[in-house]
């Protein structure tokens, strides 16, 4: 996506180290608020899904730490107008908790959030959640075989940890000169200001990535004038979004197998898209042709079409889905600006063609601070090793979920688990089932710790990076999938089916087992 370089990290490491040692000292003296078998960080899809599956396997001693006041994760935070998922709802939901009542083929953010709330209520998960508990650091106690998690409201202990804080949870403002000088209203897409009335206002939208293209049509409907600042145009495919007919919902309710069948069909369709998006195949050209045809059909002006034509291979960056973005750009009260941004001024945005574009409000749809090489808070493993430091050259894990030296620690959406073509929840479910198995193993074999062997992790990453080299993500464009040095610590180079197969196998030979 996106526009404008994201604010990043090197400062974080040093700060993290400092905080970490300070917390270490503090944690030893502080009383423990709660001890549990499993501590889950984050009450979004992944955190709640993990809790549901753990309970279904008889593991009930769970505490979920959540920094906000409600469940929902990314769908609680991203409430900007037009927020929606670009994977069909029947696939963007858990297979073990299907919803026959999706109102549209691509449901909006509020309906997805209602689904998350339904999960929390139906499975009675709310009592497990400690709201407004922001995790500040965590440290492994090798002797006891427990993790000590320092939160804003005290110290928690857990035998196993599920880091389900989400990869896209920290909003990032772009690193534009003069961003502090701007005196008008500033809104980030992930922290929407619902009290701000856009009616008749002059609005800038910086960024034309996944959130930008959803916000723009909504703002064009309401605001006086919208200027859209684009750095790089993305590939936009049409989104066949339609209302679900009543008979369809009734059918799904009466015959759940029919919904399973649709889900399977959607899954297979998205799997086939991988052939065009992940690797450069003859299908890539076909998908690009669909993108170009979509642009040609919706945009008549040659120059505007040129401005909106991507100059990288499809799939290299996130593929966007929208049928109303291009029409919105051509409305009377909307204008696409592709001049580079020179700086922000008191009244607006100065672009390199020498003009100051003045606004009442600037909306930053500039995405998230994706941690390629750091961790959102200091994580200290065996022998005082710090994960952020070990990952300074790019994050690496074993099967995306465990890291050697950090026993009993599981990550959802850890390194190299990002999908480019299919539902993130399919990947998440595979990870959840894996971590449930790990935690079960610990319990059944009465183990203190399960730590992946460094050799197994190295071999896994060698293979992953070898496979990534052949993908479109590594074909030369700059994207949030890659570090500044071009290292891909984000995506999984294969079909969702391959990922699920990778996670289905729990190879005990790859782990060091420590008895109690």
């Amino acid at each position: 996506m996106s526009t404008v370089s994201e604010t990043r990290k090197p400062r974080r490491k040093a700060a993290a180290r400092k905080t970490s040692s300070a917390k270490r000292v503090k944690s030893q003296a502080e009383a423990v608020v709660s001890r549990s078998e499993v501590l889950i960080i984050g009450a979004g899809f992944a955190g709640l899904g993990s809790a549901i599956r753990l309970r279904q396997q008889g593991i009930d001693d769970i505490v979920i730490l959540e920094r906000a006041t409600d469940v929902g994760g990314t769908w609680r935070d991203n409430t900007y107008p037009g927020a929606a998922c670009d994977i069909p709802s029947n696939l963007y939901s858990f297979s073990f908790a299907q919803n026959p009542d999706w109102s549209r083929s691509f449901s909006g953010g509020s309906e997805i959030l209602r689904y998350v709330h339904h999960l929390a209520d139906h499975y009675q998960l709310r009592p497990l959640v400690r709201f407004e508990h922001n995790v500040e650091s965590m440290q492994y106690d090798e002797q006891q075989g427990v993790w000590r998690v320092q939160t804003s409201k005290g110290l928690f202990e857990g035998r196993s940890i599920v880091m389900a804080q989400g990869p896209l949870s920290n909003a990032s403002l772009p690193n534009i000169t003069g961003i502090e000088d701007y005196q008008g209203h500033k809104i980030h897409s992930a922290m929407w200001d619902h009290d701000y009335d856009f009616t008749g206002k002059r609005v800038a939208v910086v960024g034309t990535g996944a959130s930008g293209i959803q916000i723009i049509p909504e703002l064009v409907r309401k605001a006086g004038f919208v200027k859209v600042f684009q750095r790089t145009p993305g590939w936009v495919l049409p989104r066949p979004d339609f209302e679900t007919p009543g008979w369809n919902k009734a059918l799904f309710r009466r015959l759940p197998a029919s919904q399973d069948a649709l889900r399977k069909a959607l899954y297979l369709f998205h799997e086939s898209v991988a052939l065009g998006i992940i690797w450069d195949t003859p299908l890539t050209g076909l998908v690009e042709r669909i993108g170009r045809m979509h642009l040609r059909m919706q945009v008549k002006d040659r120059w505007l079409r040129r401005q909106l034509t991507p100059d990288f291979r499809i799939g290299c960056k996130r593929v966007l889905m929208s049928s109303d973005y291009y029409p919105a750009l051509q409305k009377e009260n909307c204008k696409l600006i592709t001049w580079p941004i020179a700086r922000l001024s008191e009244k607006g945005i100065r672009t390199v063609e020498g003009i100051e574009h003045q606004f009442d409000c600037i909306v930053f749809a500039t995405g998230f601070d994706v941690s390629h090489s750091g961790t959102p808070f200091p994580v200290t493993g065996r022998d005082g090793r710090v994960l952020g430091e070990e990952w300074s050259g790019g994050a690496q894990a074993y099967k995306s979920i465990n890291v050697s030296g950090y026993p009993n620690l599981y990550m959802t959406f850890g390194p190299n688990s990002g999908p480019g073509h299919n539902s993130a929840l399919v990947y998440m479910e595979a990870q959840i089932d894996y971590l449930v198995r790990g935690i079960q193993t610990l319990r059944e074999r009465k183990l203190k710790a399960l730590d992946v062997k460094p050799d197994a992790q190295r071999a896994f990453n060698r293979d992953i990076q070898r496979r990534l080299a052949k993908t479109n993500w590594n074909s030369g464009c700059k994207s949030w999938y890659l570090t500044e040095d071009g290292f891909n610590a984000t995506m999984f180079p294969g079909f969702a089916t391959q990922f699920a197969r990778q996670m289905a196998e729990f190879d005990m030979g790859d782990y060091t087992l420590s008895p109690v």
């Binding site: 002006d301 580079p340 063609e353 020498g354 100051e356």
Partner: protein, 308 residues
């Protein structure tokens, strides 16, 4: 002048941005334009502004074909900077009362044909073709015209604006000549022939057919305004001097083509060149405006207003 480090140049470009709002367009000095100067200056500024705008579009095409990310970003900036120059020149015209309302000055027919060509075919051209033509246009027309303007106009705001414009232009030329050398580096016979192959491309031939008369037309225009012809030729000779300063530069076959063409242009006695080209200039003068398609929408991006 040694080749420049493009990475450092990109940083420098980003750090030296300016806006129309940095200039006080209402400051005193507009009255220094004499009544005698005014009508000629209006035409002159209009041509200058259009050359900047045409240059902007050429940089946009080069950004699409740039061989690496750094150069692509540099060309994107240059595209916008040339547009800034056109906007600033329009702001000067507005200041001097040369624009009626929101009117954009009409481009002459030869510029209009070049605009049409750029809109249709420029994006298809290899970077080394435009990468050689653009420095030529910049050094010859921009360089000579700007110098002439500053010698004849006393308005301090004009000097202030052109000081900034010239700073930008010197960076454009620095990059332009470096890229010409890059394109000539290690050229084998086969590569040279490959680089010349676009000469058989009818789209490029159309471009040449609009570029040749443009140069002659501009020569006629500036001479009519009082610029000594020799100054224009001196600027064109500078292209040969700087472009040919290194072996790599000289090995670039497009440098050789443009250099030879510049010699034809400069040599008024070369009737074999000037008679047909001048005839084309006259002929194009008969093309009715309405026979041309509507101006492309990128032209409508021009504005003299510092704030929008």
């Amino acid at each position: 002048m040694a080749s420049i480090d493009l990475e450092k140049m990109l940083v420098k470009i980003k750090n030296t941005q300016w806006s129309l709002a940095d200039i006080d367009w209402e400051a005193p000095g507009a009255e220094l334009i004499t009544e005698e100067q005014w009508p000629k200056l209006k035409e002159f500024m209009s041509d200058l502004m259009w050359i900047e705008h045409v240059g902007a579009r050429a940089f946009a095409a080069m950004a699409k074909k740039a061989p690496n990310d750094t150069l692509r970003e540099i060309y994107s900036y240059f595209h916008a900077e040339e547009q800034r120059h056109a906007n600033a020149e329009m702001a000067l015209m507005k200041r001097w009362g040369m624009l009626e309302g929101d009117e954009i000055p009409e481009p002459n027919i030869n510029l209009r044909l070049v605009i049409e060509w750029l809109d249709r075919y420029a994006d298809e051209m290899p970077v080394y073709v435009l990468g050689t033509v653009v420095p030529m246009l910049e050094i010859a027309l921009d360089g000579a015209l700007c110098t002439f303007l500053l010698e004849t106009v006393d308005d301090p705001v004009c000097h202030q604006a052109f000081e900034k414009i010239n700073d930008d232009e010197s960076r454009h030329l620095g990059v332009g000549f470096t890229v010409m050398e890059m394109q000539g580096h290690g050229k084998t016979y086969i590569k040279t022939v490959q680089m010349l192959a676009p000469l058989l491309d009818p789209r490029l031939l159309l471009g040449i057919a609009s570029y040749f008369p443009l140069l002659n037309k501009m020569r006629d225009n500036v001479v009519a305004m009082g610029l000594p012809e020799e100054k224009l030729y001196a600027a064109m000779n500078k292209f040969e001097k700087i472009g040919g300063r290194t072996a790599d530069g000289r090995r670039n076959p497009w440098f050789q083509i443009i250099r030879h063409h510049a010699r034809f242009v400069v040599d008024r006695s070369n009737r074999a060149y000037h008679v047909p080209v001048d005839a084309i200039v006259r002929l194009t003068g008969y093309i009715p405006r309405r026979a041309l398609p509507a101006v492309p929408s990128w032209v409508k991006e021009l504005t003299y207003r510092p704030a929008a």
